[in-house]
Symmetry: C2
Subunit: 177 residues, 2 copies
């Protein structure tokens, strides 16, 4: 049990090594279930997930990414988007996926693990496409986000955020909050 607001306050991006403690599949499914429950435009549920915990596959993913956080990840959740339009000419696949990811980040936090939202790094050197092929993702779908996870060696904390008064205002942009 973790209070929602506590999970939101404690969530942070972890880029360090993980301990050898495994992430049981029960926990992985619980995290992905949290992602599944996120809203999606017209409830089209355009995001799907590949839970990677096979050591050989994890090693191949890590080799493509060359990031310390991937080298010791005990599992990786690959978030796959379906970019077809849901309204005429408009896809909401990126929003749908991001909402699912945020739910999963909070679930990871509440269960005592750590992770980081990897996205931009997948756009280089066709890494997204290569991971998609490795995981058998159909060509019309794209691996958009990876979440490498495990028990952090040295837990961290959320990066500083601008105070409310710098990002939110009452009734008019830039007014007093």
């Amino acid at each position: 049990m973790m209070d929602l607001f506590e999970a939101i306050a404690r969530r942070y991006s972890y880029r360090g090594p993980f301990t050898a403690a495994p992430v049981p599949r029960e926990d992985l499914r619980r995290i992905v279930e949290a992602g599944i429950r996120a809203p999606s435009a017209k409830n089209e549920q355009t995001t799907s997930f590949v839970i990677v915990d096979d050591p050989g596959t994890l090693a191949r993913v890590a080799a493509m990414l060359d990031r310390p956080v991937c080298d010791t990840a005990r599992a990786v959740i690959a978030c796959v988007i379906d970019p077809r339009p849901v309204l005429p000419g408009i896809s909401f696949a990126v929003e749908d996926c991001a909402a699912a990811v945020e739910n999963m980040l909070l679930a990871v936090t509440a269960l005592g693990y750590a992770t980081v939202w990897l996205d931009g790094v997948l756009r280089r050197d066709q890494i997204a496409e290569r991971i998609g092929r490795l995981l058998g993702v159909p060509e019309e779908r794209t691996v958009r986000v990876l979440l490498p996870l495990g028990v952090p060696v040295e837990p961290g904390r959320q990066r500083e955020k601008l105070p409310l008064a710098h990002r939110a205002w009452l009734n008019r942009y830039g007014s007093e909050s």
Copy 2:
């Protein structure tokens, strides 16, 4: 206090009328604070928020949208994105905003209110631009999402989601979960 997983399970999209019960500014700030704590690419915090609770401004927003849920909303949170690139040629403003919205949806749920993520409707008839002008949003930023909120007259429930086995797989897309 609401457990994270309970908030995730209870969150739903509400499109009906709201009661006359106000949403205190303390709660509105708490909801937006949850949005502020969402991650953003490189911690650039590209999402900002206008909390609308002035009855005149609410009425003008409602008139543009012509949606029952807006007609009786006691407050509307306008989520404003800054689309500048954070990596060369790549903006993460849509993802950043969606993560903030998801945190706010969960906070709304935990505090006993209801809301709906309005996005596509803002793309018609330049509604996003018109609301931006109404709220004094700078031209280089865009109102991307509106969250009309209040106490629901008839609370609803989350729409059915496909089961885990249809959206998630172990180690290979389409395999057994």
